[in-house]
């Protein structure tokens, strides 16, 4: 049977966007090594609710399978916690030991305002996609799928970038709060496919500019983003983005 143990937590509590926040101490007994980190927080919340003295801790999640990108915890100062290529929801308590103290905070960035406790507003990401992160194709007007052959290696690489879940860990980890890995990933996905080619320049310029407009910082190659990205998105996406942006703007064409 799995062993049970005790965990101490320091959790960021903030009643609302313009309210002051602080770290609050909690202790959870009966933590089981098979629990996920979020299940451990569920158990803590059940304790808080049973006591009835304060409100349960708010945190975002949905799929709990590492794919929707909802969960966003800064765990001991690291976005999504200590395990590489793992979202907060897929982090299991077997990575911790009896008596550990863990600090839990939201993903912080100017462009991600806190809504409550650990929940932040990441709609800036939607607006970056909105500015050009798509192929303009009308429903029903597509040619037969096999009429656009794509080299397997190109398709595979496009896929690698397309797996970004939009969680925002890259932003939270970056000392400049840059969204370059997120934006670069979408560009690296669409820009390398034949379907994405016609809008390549326009897309690149629009998305890069929107990213700046949202208040994300510049990228200065810290590579912290790549280290925390749960999907292993490579920072070569950022290099590609820069190259494409330069080409598009130097060309002086209207975009």
């Amino acid at each position: 049977m799995a062993d049970t143990f005790t965990i101490h937590l320091k959790v960021w509590r903030q009643a609302g966007p313009n309210k002051p926040g602080k770290l609050v101490d909690y202790t959870v007994d009966n933590v089981n090594s098979h629990m996920s980190f979020l299940e451990m927080l569920d158990v803590l919340n059940e304790q808080i609710i049973a006591k009835g003295e304060e409100e349960p801790i708010e945190f975002d999640y949905d799929c709990r399978e590492g794919i929707c990108g909802s969960c966003n915890l800064m765990i001991n100062g690291r976005a999504h916690g200590p395990k590489a290529m793992t979202c907060s929801c897929q982090l299991h308590m077997r990575n911790y030991s009896d008596g550990d103290t863990i600090t839990v905070e939201p993903f912080r960035a100017k462009a991600f305002p806190v809504i409550k406790d650990l929940v932040v507003d990441r709609s800036a990401f939607d607006r970056i996609i909105e500015s050009g992160g798509y192929v303009s194709v009308k429903t029903g007007s597509a040619p037969d799928a096999n009429s656009i052959p794509v080299d397997k290696s190109v398709a595979d690489t496009a896929f690698d970038y397309a797996t970004c879940i939009g969680c925002g860990a890259c932003v939270a980890a970056c000392p400049n709060s840059s969204a370059s890995l997120f934006t670069g990933a979408k560009l690296a996905h669409l820009n390398r496919l034949p379907q994405g080619e016609p809008e390549r320049k326009k897309r690149t310029v629009a998305m890069v500019e929107q990213m700046e407009e949202e208040g994300f910082g510049d990228c200065s190659n810290y590579a912290e983003c790549e280290a925390v990205c749960p999907k292993g998105i490579s920072i070569s996406a950022i290099a590609e983005m820069r190259r494409d942006y330069m080409k598009a703007t130097f060309a002086g064409e209207e975009v």
Binding site: C63, C68, Q90, H92, S123, T139, K152, A155
Partner: protein, 639 residues
């Protein structure tokens, strides 16, 4: 209740094209004068919103997540079917249609299912054009794999993240329309009621999940694409926020709820490990292409699986179903896993698991190939269980996965409330009593991209919408109703948590309305659910405030609805005195444990009309007879 299916006459192959010729169009200039509400941004809602906005309608889109991109569809793993016959193995539209009808145990509508197969090919074209990076062969063309219940390779996939890639395609199309101001996006908004005026759906009431504000939205048509209700079982493979609230509130406003008892139990999930557990994780069915399912022949054999010699392993699916082997449909695989575990051959700490073994596939094809095909699933498994599936077999067990029941719709995907259209998993239409793998994505996208845009237009073209505003008394009443329930939830001020109620409901559902059902069990379940509901309304504790972000308040409303729906699911299961697909009634099975249908008496859709709830849930049963003009009803066999 009017259950006119509005199926066009004529040969099966021509029904949809004939219908398209007949439906009325809204002129291009006029489209911008019409508002359409789309609830849900999954594959069904996202694709519908994008397509309607492209056509020129003003779309208002709603979802409960913080971004449309996070809708539950994102989690679908294995793939999407289409009858392209790219592998040249003999697939046709007819075959896809036939497999789907048969897989659903002849409890779906022929015409809808045929249309689904027809449209399937367009979906792949659409997705590829959007840049969805499907798996490809070295020649640059699309790759396929096989899925349960079919003998051809017709499943398109993007590694184990097909739903994610398809959803991002639809989401990106949506965001393009948001940019053009054709879609007004409302994230973190929960629909709490439907507004019906002069018998037509004219709007919805939502709660802003951040501010707690109750808001009113008006439109000429409402498209509900709010997903399935598998979370009635508490533990399921669904995302935590998936729920029935939007559909249930429509049901309470008069929309028929069809076949609620048809719940798909997926055979390959990671087994439960403890009572803190919040959800179950699916291991894609595609794993059964290469993984072999077995249990030790001996009961209570606690040797390590790698120490059990070949001749002491019972490959029960391969033995019982030689033609389909490990690729039998989900209901068959789930039922057989339960049987071997009931007989004491189950493995793992709880004895409620069977092995899914890749040893032979790794030997045959090499670790590299297997890792290319399933790498992310293997990692996920290891992450959750701590065991390495390259070194030892996975342990799997069935879990609730998908609901084939949903709001009743006609051929136009319109419910019995005019102006209320229902798409994707939220409707009942295409899968009958069992859904084959890789067909929910197909249905969601077929509904959203290729059906709803036409049929909603047809409806709008024929209406006179008159002069109605958000001050109409029906809006007042719906808003008061939504607020009233929230107030009531806080007033209870009891001492049992929402999660606790949900978990108890789930246990009742799993035990008595799960893989197999019996008359006695169902009657008990109904009683227990009634008692639990009563206790909920006397003893639930909802923490926090209503004018703030409050997840437990959201859950309380959803659990309240599950506590009603659960009773209806059990009632529907009780009344359907036959076995059909995923609905196995213990009283009706062959000696080998196969489901025995009763076509004479039960070849119909059961659509329930809400009559009120007062201690017990009152519902009136209406029947839509299923007519099979083009296929012959046969006992399903995968032997």
């Amino acid at each position: 209740m009017n259950l006119d299916s509005k199926v066009p006459s004529g040969p099966l192959e021509d029904k949809w094209s004939k219908h398209l010729n007949d439906i009325q169009l809204v002129s291009p200039n006029n489209k911008r004068n019409h508002d359409i509400i789309v609830v849900g941004t999954g594959l069904a809602g996202g694709s519908a919103a994008a397509s309607l906005a492209e056509l020129g309608y003003n779309v208002k889109s709603f979802c409960i997540q913080d971004s449309a991109r996070r809708a539950h569809s994102i989690a679908a793993q294995g793939g999407i079917n289409a009858a392209k016959n790219y592998p040249n193995d003999g697939d046709t539209i007819w075959r896809l249609f036939y497999d789907t009808i048969k897989g659903g145990d002849y409890r779906s509508r022929e015409s809808n299912t045929y249309r689904l197969a027809q449209i399937s090919n367009e979906i792949i074209d659409q997705a590829v054009a959007q840049g969805v990076p499907f798996a490809r062969e070295y020649g640059g063309l699309l790759a396929n794999r096989s899925f349960g219940g079919a003998q051809v390779s017709r499943t398109f996939y993007a590694r184990g993240q097909t739903g994610q890639q398809l959803l991002l395609g639809a989401y990106q199309s949506m965001m393009r329309q948001v940019h053009k101001d054709k879609i007004e996006m409302h994230t973190r908004h929960e629909m709490l009621d439907l507004v019906v005026i002069d018998g037509k759906a004219r709007g919805i009431v939502t709660r802003d999940l951040v501010s707690g504000e109750i808001e009113r939205w008006m439109a000429d048509a409402v498209v509900l694409a709010s997903g399935g209700y598998g979370n009635a079982f508490y533990l399921s493979t669904n995302a935590k926020n998936s729920n029935v609230t939007a559909a249930w509130r429509c049901h309470k406003r008069g929309a028929g709820f069809a076949n609620p008892c048809y719940v798909q139990i997926h055979p390959t999930c990671i087994p439960v490990s403890g009572d803190y557990q919040s959800k179950l994780t699916l291991m894609s069915e595609s794993l059964r292409n290469d993984g072999r399912v077995w249990v030790p022949e001996e009961k209570d054999d606690d040797r390590h699986p790698n120490d059990i010699p070949e001749d002491e392993r019972y490959y029960y699916l391969e033995e019982k179903y030689p033609a389909f082997g490990n690729l039998v449909p989900r209901d068959v695989a789930s039922r057989n896993a339960k049987i071997v575990c009931d007989e004491g051959m189950g493995v793992g700490p709880t004895g409620r698991a069977v092995y899914l073994d890749f040893r032979d596939a790794i030997e045959r094809e090499g670790r590299q190939t297997i890792s290319e095909k399933y790498g992310n699933l293997f990692e996920m498994y290891e992450n959750i269980t701590g065991d390495n599936p390259y070194e030892e077999p996975m342990r799997i067990f069935p879990a609730v996965h998908y609901t084939m029941g949903g709001l009743w719709v006609d051929y136009n995907l319109q419910s019995n409330i005019p102006g209320l259209f229902v798409a994707g998993e939220a409707n009942f239409s295409d899968h009958g009593a069992n859904r084959l793998g890789a067909s929910a994505l197909m249905q969601g996208l077929s509904d959203g991209y290729f059906i709803i845009p036409y049929t909603v237009g047809n409806y709008i073209a024929q209406q006179d919408f008159g002069d109605v505003s958000k001050d109409h008394e029906a809006f007042d009443e719906a808003a008061a109703n939504a607020q009233g329930q929230i107030d009531k939830l806080f007033e209870v001020d009891g001492d049992r948590s929402v999660v606790d109620f949900h978990r108890e409901l789930g246990q009742i559902m799993w035990d008595k309305v799960g893989i197999s059902r019996s008359e006695e069990g169902l009657k008990e379940a109904i009683k227990q659910i009634q008692e639990l509901r009563e206790e909920f309304w006397n003893n639930v504790r909802v923490p926090g405030e209503q004018s703030n972000y409050n997840k437990y308040l959201e859950f309380a409303g959803r659990v309240a609805d599950f506590l009603e729906l659960g009773e209806l699911m059990a009632k529907d299961a009780l009344h359907r005195d036959e076995s059909a697909g995923c609905h196995l009634r213990e009283e009706h099975q062959s000696e080998e444990g196969e489901a025995l249908r009763n076509d004479e008496e039960y070849s119909y859709v059961a659509a329930w009309e809400f009559q009120g709830v007062n201690g017990e849930l009152n519902e009136e049963l209406h029947k839509e007879d299923l007519e099979f003009d083009f296929v012959e009803l046969k006992q399903r066999s995968y032997k």
